[in-house]
């Protein structure tokens, strides 16, 4: 049997992320896919992909923990499930040994989590019900502007004169974007304005203590957002390795914390591997 690995599955509303770590807490394998409508199948596919990358198989799993909106739907019994906020905090505690503020921009919601110098969670906040500043906001705007999401970062960097958007509301923002198009504003300037609006909305959610770290899929694909955030908070904002996997890695660290190895290996249904 191969050396045991520890698995974290983060089944988010938009993407499923899996991280596989070894006993030394290093990431050995990972995978990200669209969550789709069959959370269980997507999780299984991501799991196998990341295990393969880690050079092991399901019987190598010592323990697994799930998190995210679909944490109860992973299709096999995990040791335990934890909240996304818990997993991001666990990840932060492992990576930083000072007070940090973790700002996570997810598909549907944003989270601001403050950890004290001992890595304890001092407080957290999730965005209110609206989509302001979330990945969903950028997705909606990319549809309106008819530009692929992946192209946004490069476009924003080309801007010479940013367009400022004022509203909190995604629907109102869309109207503002249309108005700017009508007035002949350039697309890169509008995209930079959209990025600025995302950053502003998440920075406004709470005060910040210590260094600021940004995680989540949005910053993983749009690192320019992190640079902008750094300018706005007046100190460089940390973009960690694997920003999109932070929650999944946190879950895998929780799995590693478990001393009692009631693995999931006997409970995984075979054949659920089509993502």
């Amino acid at each position: 049997m191969s050396t045991p690995v520890f698995v974290g599955l983060d089944i988010g509303s938009s993407r499923t992320k899996v991280a596989v770590i070894g006993a030394d807490r290093q990431v050995l394998g990972h995978a990200v896919r669209k969550s789709g409508t069959d959370f269980s199948a997507t999780a299984a596919a991501c799991l196998d992909e990341s295990l393969e990358m880690a050079g092991t198989r399901r019987d190598g799993i010592a323990h697994a923990v799930s998190t995210g909106y679909g944490r109860a739907n992973v299709g096999f019994v995990t040791a335990e499930s934890k909240t996304e906020i818990g997993c991001l905090s666990r990840w932060g505690r492992d990576r930083f040994h000072e007070a940090v503020t973790i700002i996570d921009i997810g598909g549907q919601d944003n989270k601001v989590i403050k950890l004290d110098g001992d890595g304890r969670r001092a407080s957290f906040k999730m965005n209110r019900k609206c989509a302001a500043g979330t990945g969903a906001f950028l997705e909606e705007m990319s549809l309106r502007l008819d530009i692929p999401l992946e192209a946004m970062d490069a476009l924003a960097r080309q801007s010479l004169e940013m367009v400022k958007l004022g509203s909190y509301c995604t629907v109102f923002s869309a109207t503002e974007v249309l108005e700017n198009i009508r007035h002949g504003k350039k697309v890169p300037d509008i995209v930079k304005g959209l990025f600025y609006s995302v950053v502003k909305r998440v920075l406004e959610m709470d005060s910040h203590a210590g260094r600021v770290v940004m995680t989540g899929g949005v910053v993983a694909h749009n690192p320019y957002i992190v640079e902008m955030a750094g300018e706005m908070v007046g100190q460089p904002v940390i973009l960690p390795e694997y920003p999109q996997l932070a929650g999944a890695i946190g879950a895998s660290l929780y799995a590693l914390d478990e001393t009692d190895p009631v693995g999931i290996r006997n409970n995984i249904p075979a054949g659920e591997t089509n993502g």
């Binding site: 992973v74 096999f76 909240t83 818990g86 969670r121 407080s123 019900k129």
Partner: protein, 415 residues
């Protein structure tokens, strides 16, 4: 498949008796309205109910009716009817649900109590704005619609210390209601009956307080979710003997639980304070959520708002004025902070949840930085959840769940 475990709230046996008392109350009201044997007054929750009782009115509480609309999850379908006639979706969803129900000819009373067709028609509407201005507008609508007078007390707000000047003001306002009410009731106010109502209300208060304070025990024999239901007699029947008799029975049951070491939640590992309104349509769901997390929500400002230590047999009107002014909702932020800190200590609270109810800013104490100040002073963590009392369109269950689970996790890990 990782099944979500289900924990349920333990049944309180006294509930059967309460249901009977409440049924008697609603049938009594219905009889008054349909036979005309007694005049009917509608009264806001902390309006001058004792005065109305002393004058022989059968008293209906629209807020209680609105909470029933919330608890039966019918409110969300009714609110739009009130919105459509010009009552904004941003104002009190008790008001909009109740008016919506009227517009649609609906009442949950009809289903719960066979034979009752509608809410009792009022002869007079009586408010006290100690809680908010929305109640005055609420009564004003019915006044226009039904051609019934709406009278009441305009209360001072943001009161730090309740002074003689405040009490004088409200006393005079209550006294000013008497001639009109006597005219409608067709009787003179009998001061002895008023004294009796005030002293019964006082006794009810004392018993209700003892019921709430059983939650000091570890594990707590009662949860906030039970309290929101069992406070019904204190709301609608304070000033009557039935409420007193009921709370004696309830108290005995809870004291027995304490002696037996029985907690309302099995394996209670954290103790939570709830600040703000309940989410009426989610009582069971929230109760199960906390029970699954082995967490007991055991005390609240809301349920404690029916404690009136000031009612005094010797000076009924003035003591009513004082009691209505001492309410938490009437008071300054400084007072509120001190009060919450006292409750944290008394009930040995591990965390506070503030329910920011979209349509009730008056009962949402999370908007002017109070949670941060209390947290800084006590070190007890807090969480604000966004929701509403009656309008379920303003709620994200998934976000609420994630927030609460993460909060309980945080408390557990902080130890």
């Amino acid at each position: 498949m990782a099944e979500e475990k289900k924990a349920t709230r333990k049944k309180i046996h006294a509930a059967d008796l309460m249901n009977k008392i409440m049924a008697d109350y609603f049938y009594g009201l219905n009889e008054a309205a349909t036979t005309g044997k007694r005049k009917v007054a509608w009264c806001t929750s902390v309006g001058p109910a004792e005065l109305l009782q002393a004058l022989g009115f059968a008293v209906h509480f629209p807020e209680n009716h609105a909470a029933m609309l919330g608890a039966t999850r019918t409110s969300t379908d009714l609110i739009p009817a009130a919105n459509a006639i010009g009552y904004s979706p941003d104002i009190c969803s008790y008001l909009t649900a109740d008016i919506g129900a009227y517009l649609k000819g609906f009442t949950p009373l009809a289903k719960a109590y066979p034979g009752i067709q509608s809410v009792p028609k009022p002869d007079v509407l009586v408010y006290n704005t100690n809680q908010c201005r929305d109640v005055q507008d609420w009564m004003a609508w019915y006044s226009r619609k039904l051609g019934v007078p709406s009278i009441g007390v305009t209360s001072p707000k943001n009161v730090d210390e309740v002074t003689d000047a405040h009490i004088d003001d409200v006393t005079r306002q209550i006294e000013a209601l008497i001639p009109t009410l006597e005219g409608i009731a067709g009787v003179k106010l009998d001061m002895d009956r008023l004294r009796e109502a005030a002293s019964l209300a006082r006794e009810c208060t004392e018993l209700w307080k003892q019921v709430l304070e059983t939650a000091i025990a570890s594990p707590s024999p009662i949860t906030f979710f039970d309290e929101t239901i069992h406070m019904a007699p204190a709301v609608v029947l304070r000033g009557t003997q039935q409420a007193i008799d009921y709370y004696k029975v309830l108290l005995a049951e809870l004291e027995q639980r304490i002696r037996d070491g029985v907690g309302a939640v099995d394996g209670e590992s954290s103790r939570i304070y709830w600040e703000g309104m309940p989410v009426w349509g989610r009582l069971r769901q929230h109760s199960e959520l906390f029970a699954n997390l082995k967490s007991t929500v055991l005390a609240s400002t809301y349920c404690s708002s029916w404690i009136f230590p000031s009612f005094d047999w010797n000076d009924p009107i003035r003591s009513m004025a004082k009691a209505y002014l001492e309410l938490f909702i009437v008071r300054s932020d400084r007072y509120k902070e001190k009060y919450i800190k006292g409750m944290i200590e008394k009930f040995r609270i591990d965390g506070i949840i503030y329910h920011d109810a979209k349509t009730c800013p008056y009962n949402s104490n999370s908007r002017y930085g109070l949670p941060g100040r209390v947290e800084a002073d006590t070190g007890i963590p807090s969480l604000v959840i966004s929701g509403d009392l009656n309008d379920l369109r303003l709620i994200s269950d998934e976000q609420t769940k994630t927030n609460i689970e993460a909060f309980i996790e945080q408390i557990a890990e902080g130890r």
